[in-house]
Symmetry: C2
Subunit: 360 residues, 2 copies
């Protein structure tokens, strides 16, 4: 870890706010965006944290994101809504829509919001973590740039389309699920490339559709494989899950589904054909009390966690962990010690600071 430089969390938060406000993002929105990005860094999901700031800045500078969106509910029932993000930052549109879902859950037991005309919304796990604070079970999904092939395909047609959901414990920490529906997130391929190491069997194909161990061949018009990899080991299931996320997030809201998703990096080409507006997300929340006494629920979750931790371990392992354990462990360390950023990321931030005209 000598190729990193460590920063206090609050400094990075403040830097993001200064950059975004300089780019005409209202201060409250900039704080919201900084909260999501730094939470990602805190939890060790480095690919979705401040490392992405450069991309957001590029898109804002190019006029491809609206800094002053009028985010609106365009259709609703007591427990559902469609939100139009007016091409705002996903880091601002997402929390708005998640809030609508949580309010509806508090009012009528559950709330579901499909979102169109948005942009990259950060880590999927941020949203259910907000719901936890209100004794709700929260869920979030989003589409993303075309980079995952359907089973038996030879090109990226879907995003890594994550699903996140969280359940509160009583004395135990919450169970937090946040997973791409592809075998791995794209960030894992980038890490192998940076280390100049091959990628494992079953992650990706090259542009001709053949399996590849080369990060470069995946990146050059290849694609990631869906969770399950091949038919024999359930590759159709990862494709099914990514499709579900795509349809709930985009077809239901009127966003750009599948291969028409706008790229979240400025240097990637946009699809000429548009089938909707911007990126799409999907948020949900359930009142625990609508099903069961919340204290009883949390007590059972504690028991669940204890029972699963005591599973007989597979040979050569310490046994199963609980979803959310690795991120929680990182968060505990980084809250104390600060956020280690890779030097190329630090360089990027320096460039961002110069371009925008703030200090770093």
């Amino acid at each position: 870890m000598t190729n990193t430089q460590t920063f206090p969390l609050s400094y990075l938060h403040d830097f993001i706010v200064r950059v975004l406000t300089k780019l005409d993002i209202p201060e409250q929105d900039a704080h919201q965006a900084a909260e999501i990005l730094t939470l990602s860094d805190l939890r060790g999901i480095d690919s979705h944290g401040i490392a992405r700031l450069r991309t957001y800045v590029g898109l804002l500078n190019a006029g491809r994101i609206n800094p002053h969106p009028e985010i609106k509910i365009v259709r609703q029932t007591a427990s559902t809504a469609t939100v139009d993000g007016d091409n705002g930052l996903g880091l601002v549109v997402g929390p708005f829509a998640n809030e609508v879902a949580m309010q509806k859950a508090e009012e009528v037991g559950s709330g579901w919001v499909s979102v169109r005309n948005s942009n990259h919304y950060g880590i999927a796990g941020y949203y259910p973590l907000q719901a936890l604070k209100r004794d709700l079970i929260g869920m979030s999904m989003t589409n993303a740039s075309r980079i995952v092939t359907p089973l038996w395909g030879a090109q990226g047609m879907l995003g890594t389309n994550p699903i996140a959901i969280a359940f509160p414990g009583l004395h135990e920490p919450p169970i937090v699920i946040d997973m791409a529906t592809s075998v791995v997130a794209f960030g894992k391929v980038e890490i192998q490339k940076r280390k100049n190491e091959p990628i494992p069997e079953g992650w990706a194909i090259d542009k001709s559709g053949h399996g590849t161990h080369s990060p470069d061949e995946m990146i050059d018009h290849g694609a990631l494989l869906p969770l399950g990899t091949k038919k024999e080991t359930g590759g159709h299931k990862g494709y099914c899950l990514a499709s579900m996320v795509d349809i709930l997030s985009c077809v239901l809201s009127g966003a750009n589904w599948g291969p028409f998703a706008p790229p979240t990096a400025i240097d990637l080409p946009r699809s000429k054909e548009q089938v909707g507006k911007g990126l799409g997300h999907f948020f949900g929340a359930w009142q625990i009390e609508g099903f069961i006494d919340p204290a009883a629920f949390k007590k059972q979750i504690d028991h669940w966690i204890q029972v699963f931790r005591s599973t007989k371990p597979a040979p050569g392992t310490d046994g199963p962990i609980i979803p959310g354990d690795p991120e929680r462990k990182q968060e505990a360390i980084r809250r104390k010690e600060g956020i280690p950023l890779l030097l190329p990321v630090v360089d990027d931030l320096r460039t961002v600071a110069q371009t925008v005209g703030v200090s770093f």
Copy 2:
């Protein structure tokens, strides 16, 4: 296919009704059960169809399923409910709870029902197919006997815990997703055993936690692996999905979660410890109109299907198919030609007929 005997659909339906009514199941409930079981056979999911009748009969004869349940809503909000199945047939409890979810969706935009004190509910896909008939997007999940290990575990702690969801097209057939969250369903291992063939890499472990190619070693206190198989290829994700299903179906309703799930076969031992009542399910439904004009939605689904069918094919394949294609193809054939049953299944049904005292 010489080791099968083909029966008309209506004959099998009628046989199931005669068997169940003889076992004191009310006629309407028997018809409901027969509808689900024969739909499974029609769609080619032979493991969940009439082949299971023997098990249901065994459990009914042993007094382990209540033929006259008082199925009740025990808690509810406008858009959520918890149902107690009073230990009735899952094939009867499931449709009751799904109906509650669909009615709530029609009233307030969405409906969610967690179910306890139930039994095996047939194919997960049956329930969203009912929702399609009412222009709703339906979802269903269920727990099942402990047979799937968490990642890094060496014993079955979760069921194959399926997730099903369906989306209607306009001129195209619906997209129907119905998938176990394990690498494969247990039925696939049984098929390899019957054929006396090994199971592929990545499906299962033996009782010591080592990977195995032997169906017998998996069946003898081994376990299936979660979707994704190992850490490197996302085995933690299959574990996450199975956990989500388990918690929504069981912890939220007060059913037996994880390893405490009652076995659905009569010859398997029951857990001495109970943490709730019976098996658990989870049903959901959304009004499409609560998000978007249903005609516009269906038109986009048609477009989605056409675009995904035209994905560049992987070498040596015909390219991606649409979720639900294989089952639809089987249904078209079997509606015309009848249901082919394996001879051991036919023998089982003959035994059932003799035990119960009906003709076959």
